[in-house]
Symmetry: C2
Subunit: 379 residues, 2 copies
Amino acid sequence: MLLMQPGPTPVAKEVETIMTKKMVSFRDPAFISDMKSVIEDLKNIWRSHNAFVIPGTGTLGMEIAICNTVKRGDRVLVVSHGSFGDRFIDICNSRDIEVDLLKSKDGTIVPVSEIEAQLKKHNYKAITVTHVDTSTGVKAPIFEIRDMLKQFEDIIFILDTVCSAGSERIYLDEAGVDIMFTGSQKSFGMTPGLSIIWTSEKFLKRRDDLGKIYEFYNDLNNWLPVMEDPAKYFSTPPITLIWGLKEVITLMKKEGIEARYNRHIKNAKAFSEGLIAMGYSMFVEKEEERTCSLANIKYPEGVEIDDALFRETLYKKGVDIASGYGPYLGQIIRISHMGNVDAKILEIVLDRLEETMIELNIPVTPGKGKETFKAALNY
Amino acid sequence: MLLMQPGPTPVAKEVETIMTKKMVSFRDPAFISDMKSVIEDLKNIWRSHNAFVIPGTGTLGMEIAICNTVKRGDRVLVVSHGSFGDRFIDICNSRDIEVDLLKSKDGTIVPVSEIEAQLKKHNYKAITVTHVDTSTGVKAPIFEIRDMLKQFEDIIFILDTVCSAGSERIYLDEAGVDIMFTGSQKSFGMTPGLSIIWTSEKFLKRRDDLGKIYEFYNDLNNWLPVMEDPAKYFSTPPITLIWGLKEVITLMKKEGIEARYNRHIKNAKAFSEGLIAMGYSMFVEKEEERTCSLANIKYPEGVEIDDALFRETLYKKGVDIASGYGPYLGQIIRISHMGNVDAKILEIVLDRLEETMIELNIPVTPGKGKETFKAALNY
């Protein structure tokens, strides 16, 4: 089965294997050294001031970003390009944080000028942006946002990189971000269960300014001493998952992070061209607003297609893709090209898609999708 | 290396292996069925109304117990038999929850009459008890506490079973507990990274009475629909860890949960007798207040012993034990007999302890510890 869902994504054999090492104590010198190296690499590769690895998920990362930067009564601007952007509203609401929402139309971005105008209306303490919203495939214009934010010194820039860190080109310092986070099971190609978080120096100051916060497990000030010196204890580290993450980072370094980003860009572009040649269209129309992490695809127009049957037929041919999420269920399908998904796998997916179309009497020119894909990749 | 620390504890080969299965989507029918079976088994074996498995740790479980049962301004009584009992104070304080502490003297329990007297003084909304405090090895008299609590209908009984669930005999309904929790890496013998939580029907009502709470990830009402129907989504489940946990539970069922409890009781008793025969004494003097999860041991009296050197010497002989925790560092050592630690392993540990004593010129009668241990176990 080819796992083409946008998380969990396929896990490399080396990573699976290393997690079967014999269990050790978290006081074990070799483990302490592994943990140190993971934190150092996360900081160096994504150019952050600090990095954290905590048992959890992407959702936990979202909540940690909020509760370590704003307190009750503070105001937050949520810029949403889909369902996962919206999730920040629930997280803020439950904490009695004032929250305003700027939501884009289907498959487009919120114009940066609108964000700027809104930020001038109130005293905002933080802004949340979803780098890539998995539900729509929209990629936020982070550099424009960064430049615009320079006039708002007091605002903390929270970037949700759950569906981007490890596939989209992102460096915390370059993007002017104060806190970003991901789950291990997306572009990292690790098994799920880890919240990975990067923070800036400005973040640390904001956290300290907040003083006592309600949270304990979510309080990054409780984890910071352990991340700086893994010989210390706060709560039991997820030993096997740290081993796996270390191996994932080793593989990333072997490929080269820039080469990895370029691979994702190239594959995504070629894959979308192949899909378009087969009659599909991309949910995000403008190429510069489209992610290279996954393809959010609309079915060919003018044909009646049973979405569930389509995905089931493809599944039986060994390809597991995702349905539309939330309001987009039935309207779009989603195919990941994150992490360990390479061109060879994408080629097979195009073959199986074509077979599915033929089986379901959906018009398609045989071979055209794959040819276009291969031509775009020059192989 | 024999891993004799009180968590993580040794992991069975079958459990390691199953976690290397090829990654699947959390929508995968086989995974949904695995998750269902884990939740059902947790409910059935520990006789709870609901069960939850969440990426996290024991500490997260403590916080979840507090924030789902009491709100700002409510009053909580913390009964502490060591450092982990104390931790509830920090968790309550950060939330502006009024908290009173009853703390026992070193290695003893807080008398239930004292708890009762204290509960009559104020309108308490919850009581926290640590079933087994890893730092001291004290076991709480949960049945006496249960009986006493019957007069306080409004009080939620929070039992920290981090160092007991899977080794000490505990069933949620029998013990009159409303919420209890553990980490996967203790008596379960799983790898770390999971918070396992059991709740009563009364808990559910209390959670609903609280209405909106500050937390999102920690809000069990957000997880409940997924635990009842794992086809639903809240946050990505830790797929490989769920597979591992399922295998752990299969092994537990094969042994039989009552047989497992009896094994722990028998081994703990024999091990303590062996240790005493070698000149050590148990930190918890009264046998009925002593856990069967681990041995908290005082060095032989009248001999000058370098604690760090002692543990290092033992480590070099292939046995990894824990130092004293917090205020007990240097005063006691801790040896786990949780989960997959069996009599054969404990016998080797006694051998290595004896060799260490001889090497460090600590008086010991050769063979006496092991003989006493074996005699107690009748083999």
